[in-house]
């Protein structure tokens, strides 16, 4: 039926797993679901990944969008927001992977992964920009805002935020980022992480 290609099959399983785990969460996703989605026998999951949990760990692995840290410092927050609002996350069911993974946050492994990524790619970068005494706290408060924006947009689906474009958000991004970091910040990022809005 299919051409026999180990790597291709592995990739299809990973892709289907990413989507399912993001959309439904770890517990509501069964290995049979993933296998059916990718048109592959379920037993291959254990052959290739060892267990459902190990498949999850590999499927949840994600790297920060390229170009996040390229460009003017004063546009960093705008680029981060663009990552949440504008980036193409169809691979993860249309949500930022961090937001999607909250659905599996009952498991310590997933929580640890979220913490690591939030700290490594968001808080740390923002802390370096913050002026004043409690730079860490300010950086975390700003990270919290962006996580919250992602949640209200895609999970809660609040009316205005769902329809808002990065342009609509720009002035408020400037206000909040400037206020929290204690230094002038721009609300727009000309070349954030790729071709921009489709």
């Amino acid at each position: 039926m299919h051409k026999r290609d180990r790597e291709a099959t592995r990739a299809r399983l990973l892709e289907a797993a990413r989507l399912r785990f993001a959309r439904e969460g770890y517990d509501a996703t069964s290995v049979r679901d993933i296998a059916r989605d990718s048109g592959v026998d379920a037993t291959l999951i254990f052959r290739y990944f060892g267990s459902k949990k190990q498949l999850f760990e590999q499927a949840a692995a994600t790297d920060a969008p390229a170009g996040l840290f390229q460009g003017p410092e004063e546009e960093l927050v705008a680029r981060m927001v663009r990552t949440v609002v504008d980036h193409d996350w169809t691979e993860y069911g249309g949500e930022h992977p961090l937001v999607a993974m909250l659905r599996s946050s009952a498991h310590e492994d997933a929580r640890l992964r979220i913490r690591t990524e939030v700290c490594d790619t968001y808080v740390n970068a923002l802390r370096d920009l913050a002026a004043g005494e409690d730079a860490e706290l300010r950086a975390e408060l700003l990270s919290a805002w962006m996580v919250g924006i992602g949640i209200l947009r895609s999970v809660v689906a609040t009316p205005a935020l769902t329809q808002a474009s990065v342009a609509d958000l720009a002035p408020h991004i400037a206000t909040v980022a400037t206020g929290l970091l204690g230094r002038p910040m721009s609300g727009t990022a000309d070349q954030g992480d790729g071709p921009g809005p489709a």
Copy 2:
């Protein structure tokens, strides 16, 4: 063994269900778990609530903390943040119910409940305070911030935010709330929702 009291048994099941659903999410929680926690036979869950889903709906029902809307308008945001940071949510596993319910957000029912509560008790109240054209968007952005704070505190467990007190947060609350709502806002709320910090 136990005294035969229908209402008390029902209440114990509800209490255990609240905790389990909050901590583990809907899918990772089994009716047998809930029954074991409350020292009650699992069959009674179906007798009293009909199904696991109906138990979830009753257990997830929550009302806004009393006193949220009492007090000066300029302290409303501070009172809301206090609801997230300072309120005693041990009944829901130590997290704000909205944050806990994100763990079950794969189910449309849960998502709808979250949306309703976010809009009804947070966005709507904040929109009335916002000055300017896009009041709805500003209100949602501020709500997103508070949701994000709850998540980074209890789910992601980011270092500074986890240890921060309402006093530490106060100046930043004032900054962000003032900036987003376009009118002067206080970062502290003297009598938010009860006895205050224990």
